[in-house]
Symmetry: D2
Subunit: 150 residues, 4 copies
């Protein structure tokens, strides 16, 4: 975890409101459990309707929450009028995931237009956290509707 200075003191509320508008989060049962400057935590309790063919959580579910954790980590360091969009990401899946998961996203480098972030996903197993996936990705800063669709 790096330590960053937020530009917008109201970043936490802004992120919590945006998270609610990410409707896929509710669909997956994801909860925003920690909002700090440059660092975001999202949890998903295991559900059997989120799985791949062997009963493990689908790689796409892990990816979805890691992407949101990265995006909000980047957003937490931006000014109030800015928004975020995923440019790209890469994820590696280290172990099959069965159980409640926690994803933590962190900013490696904030930028004017490109923010580089990392996220890890852990399965919680008898009080221990086991790393099951990791992501490296780029988030772009968007300002106004033009930024979003440009």
């Amino acid at each position: 975890m790096s330590t960053w200075e937020p530009r917008d003191p109201g970043f936490e509320q802004r992120i919590r409101e945006s998270f609610v508008e990410q409707t896929i989060m509710a669909t997956l049962g994801a909860e925003l459990t920690r909002v700090e400057p440059g660092n975001i935590e999202v949890r998903v309790p295991f559900r059997s309707d989120l799985s791949q063919q062997h009963g493990f959580l689908h790689a796409g579910v892990l990816t979805t929450v890691m992407d949101s954790a990265c995006g909000y980590a980047a957003l937490s360091l931006m000014s109030p009028e800015a928004g975020v969009l995923a440019i790209e990401f890469k994820a590696n899946f280290l172990r099959p995931a069965k159980g409640n998961i926690v994803a933590r996203g962190t900013v490696l480098k904030p930028g004017r237009t490109i923010n580089v972030c990392r996220a890890d996903t852990f399965v919680e197993n008898e009080g221990r956290e086991i790393l099951v996936a990791t992501m490296l990705g780029s988030i772009t800063t968007v300002v106004g509707r033009e930024g979003i669709v440009g």
Copy 2:
């Protein structure tokens, strides 16, 4: 689209049965619309509960269906006892996606243990398809439970 010779003539039924066991597909409303050797198509009708904060489909939703399309493209060329797991993937998001999507996965190179696949996602817009995301990833061949958790 490449042309591949399947090793298992029953590959289509095998994949259709496995797709049903991928419970996240039903959760997202994804449908398996084409199963050919080395080529898989998955469609997701737009739903407002699959979105990110601006109302576009969440990048993770596109990723989830591209990953499944890649995995089943790889599986379609394997012998009946084999299974697949995502090792890793990388996706780029070219345009915000709002509308019904179709993802097509294809095998670039099948392998004994590592299969390299590509997928594209298009939004359907007034009869035209607009490329919104693309994926490049690796799928591993697993045989038996040991292969899955090893």
Copy 3:
């Protein structure tokens, strides 16, 4: 190969001059063999001092020329004052590469600040081309020195 309309009719000369300034290209013996709007070809004759420990071309050599092919493919569609920098890329290595190689980079989507490109590398073997590596990456448009170091 896609067909693109260049904004700068002098794009080919601009790219050929820039390629000469990419000193690593001469160090690797790389040649710029094709410059078309949105499409670039670079060739590297095999040399034994470019290898990894088994005598194959090092993955980093393939990557270096694919990155340059992507960067110049993006640059070919830009106005004369613009420059390019690699944001990120991902490459898969499909087969060990031993022999002369040809890398082809192409623009998937040009953008104001982010350009998404793809490249493939082939080994030339008795008149046939064998795909050995593929890349998916993002190139950013930079204008002026500030853009480069910002």
Copy 4:
């Protein structure tokens, strides 16, 4: 840096010998400066013939040494008869790199056939290290010639 237990007590000599056989390393002027279980450090003194068009080190040069650092990090944990090949990697470039660089590769998860590794590259600037690039990739374990070309 994680701590790993090597299976082969002679891992350091094995890696040093293999590094010499990676002829691209000498071509780039790269030096193997640290060999520990699961952790490898490679340094490249700046040279003007390793640059892109603005005089910065080419992204492909950073990638080449990060890939070698990852590969040898994975190899350091393997038994003596095993070898390594890059399956794929992804790199993000955070800042232009001008100066001597140091790349550090580390194993995130060793595996029977797939090893996930991470690497970072820093520019050395007046006694400080500045992160300029980061990699996330997969290395496969190969045994014998068949493993290499299969």
